[in-house]
Symmetry: C2
Subunit: 152 residues, 2 copies
DNA sequence: CGTATTATAGATATAAAGGTCCGAATATCC
DNA sequence: GGATATTCGGACCTTTATATCTATAATACG
């Protein structure tokens, strides 16, 4: 459905949203989200480039969200690493079709639009707020002192 | 959104649905649908294995649909070559989560379900019936005698 | 200033998807 | 039966996605 890279990006964003107040290093995010650290580093770079997170080098450095979780939706995260492609012209390259899609590709693009809208409508804050039996990314609910990484 | 392979499979199925009555060779389908013939051959093999189309070797052979276009939906075609994967267990492998997904993965699976349903609801016949300005796969509308390949 | 810490950049390796090729099997036509 | 057309099965190649590794630049702290 979404690429591995997009999945990793979402995990990182959700982690940062759940742990605000200070910067978090690649290693720290990687450990909790169970993502290969070296690869996560690349993904985070893309997120910085897209302006979704900010980075800080050196001691005490790491990554923080650029904006509040209720102002950030899933679609923005996906588009930063692995853009959802709408079908705008005939994939067969037929001249007569031009920008008017045939029924098949219209149907496929409708589905794409559906997903696009669905992701645009759900913010990261929605995910954090959503009541479920298990906390995102964590084995058990975070501790009161806000340091969930003490677990495991 | 969907893989290249899935796109090719759909083109082939739509082509066969639009040209019933006789078998069509790999080359014939490839030419019209603008798909590399050698690769299409592989895709068609998958469709035969899944039971969506039937093959016939030798002179006059080729491929035909196994069932009527109104009994065949897009989801079946996709699942034959590139199955849509629902998220059933926690991708992080967290024990405490088990089969109950956390909010993030619940959200992603909801989107997957949305697409799955959307594709299950549209049959190949729907696509053929849908009025649009351009005929699926073809530069111009098929001729009266039912031989659209005369074009180009 | 020197050292530890951390992101950044780029080269390289591995796996999966996409694509090609060819010989064998099967069917039709004469 | 022989010639021809066509799928089938598998080996092979190419490109892209995923992942790792190493060196470098920026920052903080003493």
């Amino acid at each position: 459905m979404i690429s591995q890279t997009a999945e990793y990006a979402l995990r990182a964003i959700v982690f940062l949203a759940m742990n605000p107040g200070r910067a978090h290093t690649t290693q720290e995010i990687a450990d909790t989200t169970k993502v290969p650290a070296a690869y996560l580093s690349k993904v985070l770079k893309s997120l910085v480039k897209a302006g979704l997170i900010q980075s800080q080098r050196g001691l005490g450095g790491g990554f923080v969200l650029s904006k509040s979780p209720d102002q950030l939706n899933i679609l923005e995260v996906l588009n930063a690493v692995d853009p959802i492609q709408r079908i705008r012209t005939c994939p067969l390259g037929l001249q007569g079709h031009g920008t008017v899609l045939c029924a098949l590709h219209k149907r496929l693009d409708d589905a794409t639009a559906l997903i696009e809208q669905s992701f645009a409508d759900s913010t990261i804050a929605d995910i954090l707020a959503r009541p479920t039996q298990s906390t995102p990314l964590y084995e058990r609910p975070p501790t009161k002192d806000g340091n969930p990484c003490a677990y495991e």
